[in-house]
Subunit: 431 residues, 2 copies
Amino acid sequence: MLRLNSRDPGFAQAFRRLVRDRRESDENVARDVQIILDDVRNRGDAAVAELTQKFDGHTLAADGSDWRLPAELCREAFDALQPELRAALELAAQRIRTYHEGQKPADRDSTDAEGVRLGAVWRAVDAAGLYVPGGRAAYPSSLLMNAIPAKVAGVERLVVVTPTPKGQVNPLVLAAAHLAGVDEVWRIGGAQAIGALAFGTERIQPVDVITGPGNAWVAEAKRQLFGVVGIDMVAGPSEILVIADGYNDPEWIAADLLSQAEHDPSAQSILITDDPLFADTVADQVGIELALLPTARTAAESWNSYGVIIEVASLDEAPALANALAAEHVELAVDDPEPLFRAIRHAGSVFLGRHTPEAIGDYLAGPNHVLPTGRRARFASGLSVLDFMKRTSFIQLDAAAMRAIGPAAIALAEAEGLPAHARSVELRLGI
Amino acid sequence: MLRLNSRDPGFAQAFRRLVRDRRESDENVARDVQIILDDVRNRGDAAVAELTQKFDGHTLAADGSDWRLPAELCREAFDALQPELRAALELAAQRIRTYHEGQKPADRDSTDAEGVRLGAVWRAVDAAGLYVPGGRAAYPSSLLMNAIPAKVAGVERLVVVTPTPKGQVNPLVLAAAHLAGVDEVWRIGGAQAIGALAFGTERIQPVDVITGPGNAWVAEAKRQLFGVVGIDMVAGPSEILVIADGYNDPEWIAADLLSQAEHDPSAQSILITDDPLFADTVADQVGIELALLPTARTAAESWNSYGVIIEVASLDEAPALANALAAEHVELAVDDPEPLFRAIRHAGSVFLGRHTPEAIGDYLAGPNHVLPTGRRARFASGLSVLDFMKRTSFIQLDAAAMRAIGPAAIALAEAEGLPAHARSVELRLGI
C-alpha cells in the first residue's frame, strides 16, 4: 500500500506516477487472436469445435446437438434456486430494468421555419451477443447488467456465449439467463466465440453488437472486430476511489476498499481523506478485516500492490485529484456529498453519502455496473440501452424548402469541387 | 454497372453477393502504424517532426514556432471568403448547430419508493481532436460537421490536426475552423498526428476523443488507440441507395446517383425501382450526365465498378433489400415516403420524397453527414453530440433505503463468493 500526503514536496510527482500507472495486461495476444478469428471465419463450426476442445477441454458433439444449452435447462436452474437468492435476483432484475427503461431515447420529428422537416428515429439492433466468462468471473449479476439493457432496448435475439471448461456449466449464470430473457446460450468461449458471433457460422447466426467481460483473448478479439460489429468499451481491472472525512466508521471504509480489492489482484482501491488519524485507523482496519476474509489472498495482493491512501489538507483538494484519476467508482463518504459531486467531472459512477457502499451498485441499485476503467471515464460511459440501439436521421424538403436552402448548398458544393452534388440541387430548383 | 431483377432465378444469390461485397481497402498497414505510434509515444515532437518531413514533405521549424496555424490566419481566411460562400457557410453552421442542440441529453435525478436516489449526469469531454485530411478530401463541410457537435457538447478545447503537404494550407478549411470555433490548428497529419493527439507530446496536449475522416493509416491509428481515447466509428467508402418509382424525373435521380459516385472510385450508388423503363432511362441519363461532369473520371470509375440498378416487381420489396444493405444514405423518391420509411430499420440517414437529394444533407439540412458506412448502420449511428460527452451515474441511499434493498445485495454477494462486498453492506445494516 502506498501512502501519500499532498503536503509533501514530492507529492505532485508521485501522484502523476499514480495516474499514469497502468495495471492493464500488456500480454501481446494480437497475433494469436488474429489467427483464431481467421480460422473461425474460414472454417466456421469446425474451427469452433477444434478450438473449444483445445482451450476448454470440452468436446462438442459432431452433430451439433449439445452446442446450445436448452432454454429448459435455464428455467430449471432458475426454479432450483434457494427462495432467498431467487428473490434477490428478481429484485435486482426488476430494479435494473426500471432504471434502464429511463434511458430509452426519444425520437425527433419537427419542421423548421424554412419548411425543412428534420428528425431521427432510434431502433434496436436486430441481434446482440453477450460474452459470459467461465470460472471465477462468471457472475450472474454481470449477466443481468448486460442482458437487461439489450432487452429493454428491444433486441429480439440475445445470444449468450459462455465456455464450459471440461463441460461444467454454472447454474447461477443459467438462472440469470432465464430471468433476463436470453434467447440462446452457446457453450463456447474465448476469441473463437467472439469470432463466431461476429462472422456467424453454419450453426450460429451472426449478431450486430457484442458486449460482456472476458480475458485478454476475448478483449483483443472484440477490439479486432470493432467495426465489423459494435462492441462495448475496452475494460481493464476494476478500481474504487473513496473520498472520506474523519467522521466515518473506519470499519465501513475498510470494507469498501476491500470489496474492490477482492475482485482481482490488479484491482485498485484508493482512499483520500483529510484526517491523518482516520487514515491510520482505516489502514489498520484493512489489516484486521483481511485476516478474516475468505478472499484475502486476492484482496491482499491487490491492496499491497495497488492500494493507496492519500492525506490531503482539505477535502477541497479531492475533486482535482479525482478528475485526474477518472476512476470507475467514486464514493463520497461525507454528510453533504453535493459540493464534491458537482466538482467531479470524470467518474464512471458516484456513490453519495455514508450509506452507499459501492457493492450496492454492483448488484441492484439499478444503474449499470459495467463502467469505464483505467481513466476511460474521461471519455466513456457505463453500458446502457444506447449501446444496443442506433439512430437513423431523416430529412424532408418540399419545393419551397429547397428554394430556401438549396442555393447555399450549391455554393458549398461548387467550393468543394463536387459538381454532381450541385447539379442534384440545381435540377430541383429548375436551374 | 450491375443490373439485377428480383424476378430472375439467380437474384437471391446475386443480391447476397452484393451485400457481402466489401469495397474497403484491405491494405495491411497495422504494423507500420504501430511503429509510428510507438515512435510518437517514445520520442514525442522529434518523431512528429521527422515523420512530417518524411510523409508530407514539409519541414516543421525546430523551435516549434510554425507548428500551429495562428487563429489570426483562420479569421483572415474567413474574412477573405466571397460573400456568397461566406453566407452559405454561415447558414450551414447555424443549421447544423440548431439540429445538434436538440441532441443534448438530459440529466436524470429521482428517488424511488424504497428511498434510493438514482440518476446520471452528462458532461462534455475536456478536449477533442479532429482530423482533417489534406488534399482532395479536405472539405470545409466535414470540418463543420465534426467541430460543431463538439462545441455544442461543451468541449472546451477543440484541436484540429491537418497535414499541409509541401507546406500548402487549405484556406476553406481554415475559414471553417474559424467559423466553428476551433481552438487549435496543428499542421501535422497521418498516424503521427493521431498518436500526438492521443499520447500528447511536449508541445501538443493530449485529447480525450478523436474524430474525423482520414486515409488507411489514420483509420488504423484510431482503431489501435480505441480505448486510450474515444474514437468515432470506422468509416469506409460512401454509399447511396435510391428507392424510386417511375414518376421521378430520371435526370434528378441520375444526378443523385452521380453525386455519390463522384466522391470516390470506391463509392457505391444503387437504384431500386419498380419501373423497368425508368431504370433504362436513368441508366442512359447517367451516361449523358457523365459526359458533362468535371468529376467524370472518379464518378465513372465508381459507377462502372460498383453501380447497381435493381428492378423489383413492387416497391414493397424494397425495405427488405434496404435493410440487408443497411446503406449510409437512403433516398425514398416517391410521393408518400412514410410507409417505406417505417419499414426501413437499418440506414444512416433517410431522405424523404422527391425534393430531398442527398447533397442537401451533406451541406446544411442540419443532421450530421458523418454516417455509418459498409452495413454498419445495423449497429452504429451518425456522429452526434453524444460522441463528445459521457455519462456519470450516481446512487444515494440512506439508512432506511439500505434496510430495504441491502439484504438482497448480501444474498447476491454471497452467491458470487464476494464476502467483502457482503460485509460492506452488512456493516451498514448493523449486522
